[in-house]
């Protein structure tokens, strides 16, 4: 990734987005820590944690947009990669509890003592080291995505079939993680975390740091996605999305391209999950629920698929709305609203917020040809994908 490529790939929207995220990532933690509590400008700690959660969702949405918006792969199982990353981080946090658990066992986490486990299962080895856990956050989801994708793309499972088997995958993992003898805490999952790298996870400054890190991860993730989609590889991905067979006949190995982007996307989802867990304080099998993955897809659709910025924006907007409505008197109607959102966005706003805004901007600019000074990247079609789908 050369500096030249970086600047070339940034259009005005992306610049604004990155500036806002960076500003939030710096200002919100600073305001939370430095200003006196109760002051007008001080961001309360609970909001830092809440917004940290949204930022993690935004990374997840970004990873979905990378494959759905640019390669036409609709994964209904991305929540599984998110949860696997979360479990990898959760396992590290569990090992950090040490003797401070209820049963005070220096090696075994509480739930294992409770279930009469005699020794640590082999797949828990190494998770007492942060670097190993951090590696696993990338490796486990990436490896699963690689194996899954290798099987699926090679035998040309596409479209809704792929969506359905990704859903089956996350459902199978949901069932597996619910089992106590699977060694991941069963129904209750992993919780009661104490500290991360020696810092108390409950402390304000740790939370602020985690928030800043999440924003940084969002920025890095965005730049990675941006670099992928604006490279030659990205052009091939868009070609696969719009006409898979034709791309194959032109001599591209479609499977390899899809497999690469699917694996990268899964790793990103894993990172999002790993940042999510210490901020939320728990990871349990319900994160694997197929409904969660589909909800993440709708964030992307709301923001605008194939725009990257839109995916992140959609995740934040929808989740903010969810928090707002489910905490008030309107709580019983939230599912109606969410359901209606699914229907209305697909029917009336197929390009999402950003996509619609972009085409409005374009048409407005065409009327005033004197003002054609926007960066070249906006015109190369990346921000405005054709919505043509490979019909089944």
């Amino acid at each position: 990734m050369t500096p030249h490529m970086l600047t070339r790939s940034l259009d005005r929207g992306a610049t604004i987005f990155l500036t806002i995220v960076a500003a939030c990532g710096i200002l919100i933690p600073l305001s939370n820590l430095l200003l006196p509590a109760g002051s007008f400008l001080q961001v309360p700690t609970y909001l830092v944690a809440l917004w940290g959660k949204y930022v993690c969702y935004a990374i997840l949405a970004l990873s979905i947009d990378l494959i759905w918006g640019y390669c036409g792969i609709l994964s209904l199982g991305h929540g599984a990669f998110f949860a696997l990353g979360g479990y990898a981080m959760g396992m590290y946090l569990m090992r950090q509890i040490g003797t401070r658990g209820v049963y005070g066992n220096p090696i075994l986490p509480d739930f294992m003592v409770f279930l009469n486990w005699q020794k640590l299962p082999w797949y828990w080895y190494g998770f007492d080291m942060f670097w190993f856990a951090a590696l696993m956050v990338l490796v486990v989801p990436g490896l699963l995505a690689f194996c899954f994708g290798w099987l699926a793309f090679r035998s040309r499972v596409t479209g809704v079939y792929l969506s359905i088997i990704t859903q089956a995958m996350t459902y199978a993992l949901l069932l597996a993680f619910f089992r106590n003898d699977f060694g991941f805490g069963g129904n209750n999952g992993l919780t009661d975390f104490k500290d991360i790298l020696g810092f108390n996870v409950q402390a304000e400054d740790t939370r602020a740091a985690l928030f800043a890190l999440s924003c940084l991860a969002l920025i890095v993730g965005f730049l990675v996605c941006r670099a992928i989609v604006s490279s030659k590889l990205g052009k091939v991905l868009i070609a696969v999305r719009d006409a898979e067979s034709r791309t194959r006949f032109l001599g591209y190995r479609v499977e390899s391209y899809k497999l690469f982007v699917f694996t990268v996307s899964a790793c990103m989802a894993g990172v999002a999950g790993a940042l999510y867990v210490p901020q939320v304080g728990i990871i349990n099998p319900s994160e694997f629920a197929p409904g969660n993955s589909i909800e993440a897809v709708i964030w992307v659709a709301v923001g605008g698929r194939g725009t990257l910025v839109g995916a992140a924006l959609g995740a934040i907007v929808v989740n903010y709305a969810k928090t707002f409505f489910t905490s008030g008197a309107l709580a019983p109607y939230w599912l109606f609203m969410l359901g209606a959102l699914f229907i209305l966005v697909t029917l009336l706003l197929p390009k999402g917020i950003i996509g619609t805004f972009n085409s409005w901007w374009e048409s407005a600019r065409e009327k005033r040809p004197a003002e054609t000074t926007v960066s070249a990247a906006a015109e190369d079609g990346i921000t405005e994908p054709k919505m043509a789908e490979e019909a089944q």
Partner: protein
């Protein structure tokens, strides 16, 4: 007053005389035996059980069953024995007269394991000649299990009088069990007994034959060993049959849930994530029908399902047509968007039902003809499962006939095979789409009626079937009803055969993984459409 006094004396004398002579007259072997309970010695108790059980006294049954439950109280001082009823009232065990209260010195007659077996056997033989058929059968079975030597005589006398065939068989088996374990039975008798028990061939027979011990004649041991082998084979066969039946039953449920999906997905290529909610609507229709019947026409309850089936079809079908006209028709050619929109729809429908009917499970009753079970060989088949299987196959056959022989069916097949060609031939494809979607949804509604009989009717009912249904359709192959049939039964049976080996959850996970792998091999399912329709 002398006369008065002498009269009194006479009465007294008479009373004394009567007491002196009448008491021994009553104190027969039964009363003696009852008194032995008061000794509270295990050997005496055992003797007493035998005598009481064979006395023929109407008190025998209450005494022995009280002994079993620790309600037989004995006073070691007065040698009186009392039966405390479950209602707290007590009677004198020897006479059957009610007593005001059991003295404090009385304590429950103790039992040990050996005595408990005698008690079981005694109770068994006591009920062997009960007028009630089910009681007799149960008694014979309990003797079979306890095989106490003391029961031989009652069993044989019961066998002589018995007229019912199944009770007679059970008594014969009980007799065989006793003989097999009796040390002074002849070798011939024992061999016969082994043959009888072998013919019974179930788990109990196996346990009985395995436990005969080593002090038997060699020929008997050999016969028993061969009988054990043959019973184990029979049992293995029956357990296979049972798994197959469970599998068929699960398969029928899957088929019922998936068949509507096969139509919408197969014919229209529409992924209807709200399909499960159509099933739920059908189940709630059944609930409403039953509520109306319960409050207005209680006599019609047995017909409630017959009424609910067409209603559920109409309600769910109408909702389906409405969905197709208002949402799905705008999304043709965009299957992934359809998937998202229908998922949103499923959320809305679930929440709507939750708002109207509440979040908890609603009770839907089984009509009398759907409750209960019957035995087939060594497996138990419940009527509701059987009826659902029959019903599913009927729905499948009707649907197949409809597709084959009606004008709508012809049009539907034409649209499935080549939409544009069908349109060129003058088929109103959008009307066919609406009707197809209505048909698929209506069948899901019918499935809901059936599933309300075996599952909880709650707003989440549909969600639990949606992934399974998709698996069935994808596995079986899109656009082919036979594929759905084969897919449903294959998955159902595979699931039930994996369950005993791997456990319910792991079995399900294994099936999901297998399907995922299978789709890699055959991306378009078992029975894939061939030719241009695939890429259309």
């Amino acid at each position: 007053m002398p006369t008065n006094l002498s009269a009194r004396l006479c009465t007294l004398a008479l009373s004394l005389f009567l007491i002196a002579f009448a008491l021994p007259a009553f104190a027969g072997p039964f009363e003696d035996a009852v008194a032995k309970f008061a000794n509270d010695e295990f050997s005496d108790t055992e003797e007493a059980i035998g005598v009481v059980a064979s006395s023929g006294s109407p008190l025998a049954f209450p005494i022995i069953s009280a002994l079993q439950d620790g309600r037989l109280m004995a006073d070691p001082d007065t040698k009186k024995v009392y039966v405390t009823g479950t209602d707290g009232k007590s009677i004198d065990a020897a006479t059957g007269q009610p007593v005001a209260s059991v003295p404090d010195s009385a304590s429950a007659v103790r039992l040990n394991n050996r005595l408990r077996r005698s008690v079981d056997a005694a109770l068994g033989s006591l009920t062997l000649q009960s007028p009630d058929l089910a009681t007799r059968l149960q008694a014979a079975q309990s003797v079979f299990k306890s095989h106490e030597e003391t029961a031989l005589e009652p069993v044989e006398s019961a066998l002589a009088k018995e007229t019912n065939k199944s009770v007679k068989t059970a008594l014969g088996e009980a007799r065989a069990a006793i003989l097999l374990y009796m040390s002074d039975a002849t070798e011939v008798q024992k061999l016969e007994a082994v043959a009888t028990i072998k013919a019974r061939g179930d788990q109990d027979a196996l346990a009985l034959l395995t436990g005969i011990g080593t002090d038997q004649p060699a020929s008997v041991t050999k016969a028993a060993a061969s009988a054990i082998g043959s019973i184990q084979n029979t049992l293995a066969v029956w357990s296979t049959v049972q798994n197959a039946w469970y599998g068929l039953s699960l398969g029928s449920v899957l088929l019922l849930a998936a068949i509507g999906l096969a139509i919408t997905f197969g014919v229209m290529g529409v992924i209807n994530m709200a399909h499960g909610e159509m099933v739920m609507i059908g189940a709630y229709t059944t609930f409403v029908v039953q509520e109306v019947i319960r409050t207005r026409y209680p006599g019609l309850f047995d017909y409630s399902l017959l009424i609910a089936v067409p209603l559920a079809f109409l309600v769910a079908g109408a909702v389906g047509v409405l969905i197709e006209r208002s949402i799905i028709r705008f999304l043709y050619g965009r299957p992934l968007e359809t998937l998202l929109a229908t998922w949103g729809l499923s959320l809305v429908l679930q929440q709507a039902v939750r708002t109207v009917f509440g979040p908890t499970n609603r009770e839907v009753g089984n009509p009398s003809w759907m409750s209960g079970a019957f035995e087939l060989g060594q497996i138990t088949i419940t009527y509701n499962r059987l009826w659902i299987l029959v019903f599913t196959l009927a729905v499948f056959a009707i649907l197949l006939a409809m597709l084959r022989y009606t004008a709508l069916g012809l049009e539907m097949r034409a649209v499935t095979q080549n939409r544009r060609m069908a349109a060129s031939m003058g088929i109103a494809t959008s009307r066919v789409d609406a009707l197809t979607f209505g048909l698929g949804s209506g069948i899901a509604g019918i499935a809901g009626v059936a599933l309300s009989q075996i599952d909880n009717v709650s707003p989440n009912l549909g969600q639990s079937y949606i992934i399974d249904s998709f698996m069935v359709v994808v596995f079986g192959g899109v656009g082919n009803l036979w594929g759905t049939l084969v897919g449903a039964f294959t998955l159902g049976i595979a699931n039930k055969f994996l369950e005993p080996v791997a456990g319910a959850v792991l079995g399900k996970i294994a099936i999901l993984v297998l399907i995922i792998l299978f789709i890699q091999k055959r991306p378009r399912g078992l029975f894939a459409l061939k030719g241009r329709a695939v890429e259309a």
